[in-house]
Symmetry: C2
Subunit: 640 residues, 2 copies
Amino acid sequence: MFEIIFQIENGEPISVSANQGDNLLEVARSSNVAIDAPCSGNASCGKCRVKLLEGDLDSLQTAHISQEDYDAGWRLSCCSKVTGNATVLVPDIAFAYQQRMKTADLSTGEEVAIFEELQAEIKNTGISFCNEFTTVDVQLSEPTLDDTMPDNERLEQELLKMTGADRCKISLPAMQNLAAALRNSSFHVRVMGEQKEDSFLVYAISPAADQTPLCAIAIDIGTTTVSAVLTDLETGRLLSKASAGNGQIRYGADVINRIVEQTKPGGRKRLQKAILDETLFPLIQLLCKTAKVAPDHVMRVVLSSNTTMNHLLLGVDAGPVRMEPYIPSFFHYNDLYAAHLSLPVHPWARVFLAPNVGSYVGGDITAGAFASLIWNKEEFSLFIDLGTNGEIVFGNNEFLMCCACSAGPAFEGGDISCGMRATDGAIEAVTIDKETMEPVLTVIGKQKPVGLCGSGIIDVIAELYRTSILGANGKFTREGRRIAWDRHGMGRYILAFASESETGREIAITEVDIDSFIRAKGAIFSAVDTMLAALEFETDMIDHVYVAGGIGSGINIKNAVRIGMFPDVELEKFSYIGNSSLSGAYAMALSDEARQKAAEVADSMTYMELSTHPGYMDRFVAACFLPHTDAGRFPSSFQE
Amino acid sequence: MFEIIFQIENGEPISVSANQGDNLLEVARSSNVAIDAPCSGNASCGKCRVKLLEGDLDSLQTAHISQEDYDAGWRLSCCSKVTGNATVLVPDIAFAYQQRMKTADLSTGEEVAIFEELQAEIKNTGISFCNEFTTVDVQLSEPTLDDTMPDNERLEQELLKMTGADRCKISLPAMQNLAAALRNSSFHVRVMGEQKEDSFLVYAISPAADQTPLCAIAIDIGTTTVSAVLTDLETGRLLSKASAGNGQIRYGADVINRIVEQTKPGGRKRLQKAILDETLFPLIQLLCKTAKVAPDHVMRVVLSSNTTMNHLLLGVDAGPVRMEPYIPSFFHYNDLYAAHLSLPVHPWARVFLAPNVGSYVGGDITAGAFASLIWNKEEFSLFIDLGTNGEIVFGNNEFLMCCACSAGPAFEGGDISCGMRATDGAIEAVTIDKETMEPVLTVIGKQKPVGLCGSGIIDVIAELYRTSILGANGKFTREGRRIAWDRHGMGRYILAFASESETGREIAITEVDIDSFIRAKGAIFSAVDTMLAALEFETDMIDHVYVAGGIGSGINIKNAVRIGMFPDVELEKFSYIGNSSLSGAYAMALSDEARQKAAEVADSMTYMELSTHPGYMDRFVAACFLPHTDAGRFPSSFQE
């Protein structure tokens, strides 16, 4: 038995016992030492670096650790075995998240405009933005020694008269505030409640002069990032917004790794805690603080997420999701209240989960497809959600078919050595001069570059390919001052030399990055391709393409088509609709009818299982080229 | 600014800043240092002893600290002011509680027999012991690639067929266990649920072979002690029992002191935490552990407590309870679920509060009066609950009147220097030889004595009075080896010399103790007296007297009458019914009809406010003698 001391950057050291040969990442996880490991220990992401300070480890030197770093003590914890006592430095994962996961949803005016336009379009379909929350101004008679009715009965009697309800129920937070609210305002109070069937439900009570809003929260829980908004239930006004990395990321970058982790002892609790306590609770508190709203005034929550995420969030076993015959515990689950999850909002707040369609098409796609309004059009629309999972919906007001593919986190800047979210410092657009091979960068926040976001990666690959710096197989074919090679022979294109970047470190895209990205775009395209083929639709029969996801409004659709990511249809058919999962959740929070309609959309979608579909693998392999092995399918790829 | 270090016995030291002249008890409370102070700092109980280890304090030397103890550094913290840096030793309050508050409810076979007899009598009235909890044995078809319905829909479809319900709702704990329960038992499961109106509510699910019971918990929350039982909802069997001191005691011994404390900043949260987190949570966990029942199998909770206790428990402002016109926030409150209080039971468990009747007659009296069945008899019954508050109900099946008086904790062994609960080591009965003045003690557990419990105190006072050792005014009138006097001239009767006791410390009853007890019994008798007078009833019109409370089955009714505690009616009219609040709560947990009936009992009781009633004070003063200033009212007092 040896002692491993994890020296946590900005934290307390943690001492753990370990046996000869134990995997260091496993040792860390078993003691809740947070090491960033999105690939869940497959040696593929290179993020689980720790620095050996004392003692020894038996570590593989992978391509992720340079010789210089290795000499300085850096090791991948997933590739290290315990051989004796050791002390290792663990980088601050919170900081790593912040850098890597900082999200861009609604962070720019352009994104907000897209969001609001979508809400307006949903309203234009005639869906009523109504809910049953209301405020009632109540004046009660004051009690005396001859009129000693308790406060709650006094209030209930008056409310029944005023609302016509048969029954009045008073929530605990309202009860806790009842005596003070009455006595601080001469028994003239404002009651915030919900008219529900024959009952009037009292959520909150305050002195009559109070004007704070009744609120709802909508949250999109992505595998990688979480975005949330707080809205006024009566006016529909957006009051605050916030985003964060999904705290589960240290247990694996994709849903499969997380499901594997949740089946380990204590895993389900760990994963639930990571998304609830560590991610959602602070996010909700931040939303309330920013909007200056008391938690008790948040009376409804809508959560939109994929099937695995909503299972893990509830602490429900997601294991069967990945075992044949792939049966989740639920598609619809409507019996949940905030108190059951200890969410820091009103305990009576209903928690609505956007309903799932299948094991790999979840509530986020229901919400997104709902928000895209493709279910309301005669024309044939293709809806593509670019996330860690890519999901595709195709159809119109008569049918909807959907499928999912695993794209990995590349579109959000993950799995890419200099990748980052579309936020300040991100290179969001690139052009490259064919002669000089020199790049022109557009950086968010007009500053020196920090890294590359999804739209920037699309651009740089498209430009490298257009300028023949990159071959169709994703390998560099030219030499120059911007091209460099490491000792393993892996090439990279330098977008910014160390001196040109914000961080003082070189920003480059490597052949490994390009390979990752090509596989991601290949997964998306082949999914579209397979589904259209199954439906016997040709590319030119697509009337609209809605592109959703956190890739950012900076996406250059022309370049995305050029590299074979989207089908080659006229550019004007494309619309980027932002985080449609969040948009759908927002509408569902405000409108009972929207929620009803979204449930119908979920029920009307036919789920197609790609992994077992004949021909999918061939189509995927064919799509893992620039733009495709059948280049004739991408005529625009060869126009300047 | 000075530094006060509280050296906690068996704990970590706590360092606090304090100003010249600050009261030491207040300094401790402001920093959550737990000092036992049932009188809430009135210098009357003598329990807030701390030992000065270093530095100085400006302390009054009260009768509660002997010269020897004072010289050793012992001080009352409520009588000490800060004059500089100081370090004090704080005795372990948990241990002090254990000693002082260890409860006797249902701890003897006799008590359990009384409890079970009462349940049988309640059933004999024809009240149906039915509830809507049930178990359903369900066999589902297993899913296949062609039948991919999610687990919850599969279960719901079958349950709707089997139960005839229109809707099925599945709780989160059931959902969390659903996949495993189905897959561990070939989709043959046991569903535990409740048929409620048109819905079937699924609380828990387990493999078909599981036989663990569906349970309910009933808790009597007294001002001083808390007693709880866990029962099988289907069979009504008592599965486990547990008791503890009410953790709020350090904020004051009676409801008035607690209400004062709750109005201080943060006070309401502190008091709620003391009863919930510190008292009920561990008690519930202990009940479940003892009965080997998972928390999720506890599907109903009934809480029985006085009005102040149930307000503080919910975190509801109890301030108005003690301010004219004395209006509580609620009598009935029926909208509470376990999740709202984070109770460690099933989050869907309804939490029923026995309804209150007035500001000072609470749910405990409703439950107790219900259990006594006085509402079901033609004869006139007197119900007396001996607790920290004494409550009286009088009436029959046509009317019920009730009132409350503050008796203090004397009946439960509090406020008495050698007082303790009726548990092992407690002197529960005493006789004294008139000639020799030597006592014969009956000690619970047949061991050396530790202290005096309520029934023992009644005996010793009655015997001291009968043997003319004590005068009618509660002062000692004879001398002898058992009588001693301190330097303030306060007399005491020594029940056990140091060498005779278990603890090696003398066990005595002092004139101060006797005075406390006489005021307690005077409060009870004068309340009965005032109420009967108001109703124009004579003592001999009383057909039954039901004595309830934690005083223990050892109570010698004859002696209690002899000292003027109860009206002088024939002994055979008295019944000791134990903790009737707990008995009532138990029936209410098992039977929906009992709960309904108890609510009717509450609504039918007329509350009489004693404190403003003309003549009450005179009657109280008259009752503060042995047996009474009008001794003719207690003829049995003078029979041998």
